[in-house]
């Protein structure tokens, strides 16, 4: 096992269920104190990765380390330091939300009563309701309150806001910021790109059981194309043939194209030579970025 300061470190993780390959050599590094986004289409292996990290599944190959320990063998000691919110929160129907929060706290070595009550308030949760009567969002709130009311060093959150309204999403964002502030690490699997953009320091993108890219959002953007809209005095010659230029739409004096970061200097020079009147350049939106990764297009 490599010696590392990473809180989470997997390399070449493999897991199959019957004939279906869930993880196909997945690498993941999450550094201490960072909020790390885990992104990928449905079925990419995000939840399987999390279950391996929690010691619920045993990998078929590769290594996984949590705080430098073995998530399968050292589960009980490692779990003192982590809090988990599953993507599909199923709770005990005959327990109330308040009872569930306390129960989950007791399973994790206690929680801070003051913070618990404050969080119940902030998430606007009715703790006296039976869990069978809760909507999906409210079940998620129960799991989130139980997680954030403890003093975990690592938070593993599997699509924790998929059922929350925008107001509660904001409360969730504040909670993540608070635990980051005190030095905790967060692994956040999410489909909500605005949330990832707002909260995450770094992201890893997985597809078909492998990591296809990792880095800060800035890093990822650098590897991607910038969209350029320009109005020019006379038509720009030679743009079609230039390497690194895509989806060119030229209509007399207005043009739009996407440009690889490597070709940006040359393209801008051509455009200025043609007498630029208006110019907007826009980095790729996250949606564009992820759509390309998700659909498997080449970088």
């Amino acid at each position: 096992m490599p010696i590392t300061s990473d809180v989470i470190n997997t390399s070449g993780l493999r897991k199959r269920f019957g004939r279906a390959v869930a993880l196909d050599g997945l690498d993941l590094q999450v550094a201490a104190g960072e909020v790390h986004g885990l992104l990928g289409p449905n079925g990419a292996g995000k939840s399987t990765t999390i279950r391996v990290l929690l010691g619920l599944l045993r990998p078929d190959g590769g290594t996984a380390a949590l705080f430098g320990g073995d998530p399968w063998r050292d589960a009980t000691t490692l779990h003192r330091r982590l809090a988990y919110v599953p993507g599909d929160v199923n709770l005990w129907p005959n327990l109330t939300g308040g009872e569930t929060i306390d129960l989950l706290g007791s399973l994790r070595g206690g929680l801070d009563q003051g913070r618990r009550d404050a969080l119940v308030e902030r998430f606007e949760l009715d703790p006296k309701k039976r869990c069978r009567a809760y909507s999906k969002g409210n079940r998620q709130k129960v799991a989130l309150v139980a997680a954030f009311a403890g003093r975990a060093d690592l938070f593993i959150l599997d699509e924790p806001t998929s059922g929350l309204d925008p107001l509660m999403e904001a409360v969730f964002g504040d909670c993540v910021a608070e635990v980051k502030q005190r030095g905790a690490t967060v692994l956040l699997s999410s489909h909500i790109l605005a949330e990832v953009e707002r909260l995450c320091d770094r992201v890893s993108i997985v597809r078909a059981g492998r990591r296809v890219d990792t880095g800060t959002l800035e890093d990822l953007r650098h590897l991607s194309r910038t969209t350029i809209d320009a109005t020019v005095s006379r038509p720009v010659a030679g743009l079609e043939a230039m390497a690194g230029v895509y989806d060119l739409e030229a209509d007399g004096r207005s043009l739009r194209c996407q440009v690889d970061s490597g070709a940006l200097t040359k393209v801008l020079r051509l455009i200025t030579d043609a007498g630029v009147q208006t110019l907007t350049s826009r980095p790729p939106t996250l949606e564009e970025l992820f759509l390309r990764y998700y659909s498997g297009a080449q970088r």
Binding site: W92, T96, E99
Partner: protein, 524 residues
């Protein structure tokens, strides 16, 4: 609406035949075995006199009217079958009304072009025709054994009437409470209360009018094979019509998803008993264990009251022979104790399987992840459920021994002796029951998706023990069932070998289950 009724019957295509078979089949087999046990009028008269002198018989089964085969069949069957039909009707109505509404599936139907009362009307129509069908089938099968048809139909329709009444009562409860569990509890408690009401009425002549105050009592009041009072059937019919009208009117007045009574809020904080792995297991299993224990205690009180009268009841040679095969003793009293304790052991084993089944549901529904993502180890999680799978059934056996011992001891004025012999008889069954718990736990560990198959094994064991002796199969086949291996105390000598072997196998099975579960993936 016809489509909705069809949908209901399609969704129940597995469970419906089981209910129908259980009710119609038990009617036929009861009449068949009574015919074999009491072939002539004289033996029947002895039996009827015995029943009349047994304190526990009237509360459980009602009054026996005369010594004809039909009347004995109706006595043995009528009240119990009526209660079973009521349970079936309640469960079906709730499953298709409040449970559907609670899960939100019914929103799809409600949003479609159907009247808001249509789903309830469709379910009632479906359950009422099912009850009537069962009644007619009972009426049709008994004449095969040579029993008069009129009494058979009176009995069948009396059973159906009780089912129909409780279908309507459940539909009212479904409007009142928000959770399907509360609806089931309310409707089934109502049934239990009415059953007790008529039990009191049957037990004490002074208040025999109480029988008429209970829908379960109406089934008895029809008096099949003792006058066939057809007009009594009008009472459940009218009652059901009134209740159905009430349910429909409540339905048209309330919001979708809500109840006439809003759900009561629960505690905002967990009490001390709801903390930790074992606290959670306690909350998951306590209801089932308490329910079975209370039920078996009541049953044991009733059956224990017969012990004193066994000598009288078993006047016929055929009865003695059957009893000694079941109970493992030539002494009818000891054989009777052995036989009822075996039945209670089979019930106790059902508790074990229920507990293991719920543990599997924890895993399948993903709730286990919340526990195992905390500090509890897998071993601790398994242990928390295994404790209930082992101690739950032992508690049920204790209730069986205690209940039967108390009621026999009070009537013989020798409670110490009765408690000793009946508790001994009950606890002698414990190794067999724990072995079955261990087998179920092992199956859960090795092949979690097939945990439910342990019920099949259980049914096979129960069948071999209860019916096997009459089937003339080889002894080695019967010996495959742990229930057959348990010593039939107090009649038989205490056999150390089977108890020790079963105990050792149970411990080994539980240990293996633990070892396997620690190594396998957690599977949804």
């Amino acid at each position: 609406m016809r489509e909705l009724a069809k949908l209901a019957s399609r969704r129940d295509r597995i469970i419906l035949p089981i209910w129908v078979d259980a009710l119609v089949g038990s009617a036929f087999s009861t009449a068949y075995s009574l015919k074999g046990l009491f072939p002539d009028q004289a033996s029947r008269q002895v039996f009827v006199d015995g029943v009349k002198s047994a304190a526990g018989a009237a509360p459980l089964y009602g009054r026996i009217m005369n010594a004809s085969l039909g009347a004995i069949t109706a006595w043995r069957l009528g009240v119990l079958a009526a209660a079973v039909a009521a349970v079936m009707s309640v469960l079906l109505v709730v499953r298709h009304t409040r449970a559907e509404e609670q899960t939100g599936r019914q929103e799809l139907v409600a949003a479609a072009a159907v009247d808001r009362t249509a789903p309830l009307a469709a379910v009632l129509q479906f359950v009422v025709s099912l009850d009537l069908g069962i009644g007619v089938l009972i009426g049709a099968v008994l004449p095969i054994l040579g029993l008069p048809a009129a009494g058979a139909f009176a009995l069948g329709l009396a059973v159906a009437g009780c089912g129909i009444f409780f279908a309507a009562a459940a539909s009212v409860c479904a409007q009142v409470f928000e959770s399907s569990r509360a609806v089931n509890t309310a409707a089934l408690s109502l049934l239990g209360a009415f059953y007790l009401l008529r039990a009191v009425g049957d037990a004490y002549h002074a208040v025999s009018w109480l029988v008429w105050a209970s829908p379960v009592g109406w089934a008895e009041a029809v008096q099949p094979y003792a006058g066939d009072r057809w007009w009594v059937l009008a009472i459940p019919a009218a009652g059901a019509a009134l209740l159905a009208a009430l349910a429909l009117s409540l339905l048209s007045r309330r919001d979708f998803g809500s109840g006439v009574l809003a759900a009561r809020p629960g505690p905002a904080r967990a009490a001390a008993d709801t903390r930790g792995t074992f606290g959670l297991a306690w909350r998951i299993h306590r209801g089932a264990v308490a329910g079975w224990t209370a039920g078996v205690l009541v049953g044991a009180l009733v059956f224990g009251s017969f012990v004193k009268n066994v000598q009288v009841l078993t006047g016929g040679e055929q009865v003695r022979k059957t009893l000694s095969e079941l109970g493992g003793s030539q002494n009818p009293t000891d054989a009777y104790i052995g036989a009822i304790m075996e039945v209670f052991a089979i019930m106790a084993a059902a508790v074990a399987l229920t507990v293991i089944g719920r543990a599997r549901a924890e895993e399948a529904d993903g709730r286990i992840e919340l526990v195992l993502a905390g500090t509890p180890s897998r071993a601790r999680w398994v242990a928390s459920h295994a404790v209930f799978a082992v101690l739950g059934p032992v508690l049920v056996l204790a209730a069986a021994g205690l209940g039967a011992g108390l009621s026999d001891g009070l009537s013989t004025h020798d409670p110490a002796h009765a408690l000793g012999s009946l508790l001994g008889g009950a606890f002698a069954q414990a190794p067999a029951v724990v072995l079955i718990a261990a087998l179920a736990a092992l199956l859960f560990a090795v092949a979690p998706k097939y945990t439910g198959a342990s019920w099949g094994l259980y049914a096979l064991f129960a069948f071999l023990s209860l019916v096997g002796p009459e089937l003339k199969v080889g002894q080695y086949v019967l010996d495959a069932s742990p229930f057959s291996q348990a010593p039939k105390l107090p009649g038989a000598a205490f056999a150390v070998t089977p108890v020790a072997v079963m105990g050792a196998l149970a411990v080994a099975g539980l240990a293996a289950a633990l070892a396997v579960f620690r190594r396998r993936d957690v599977l949804a």
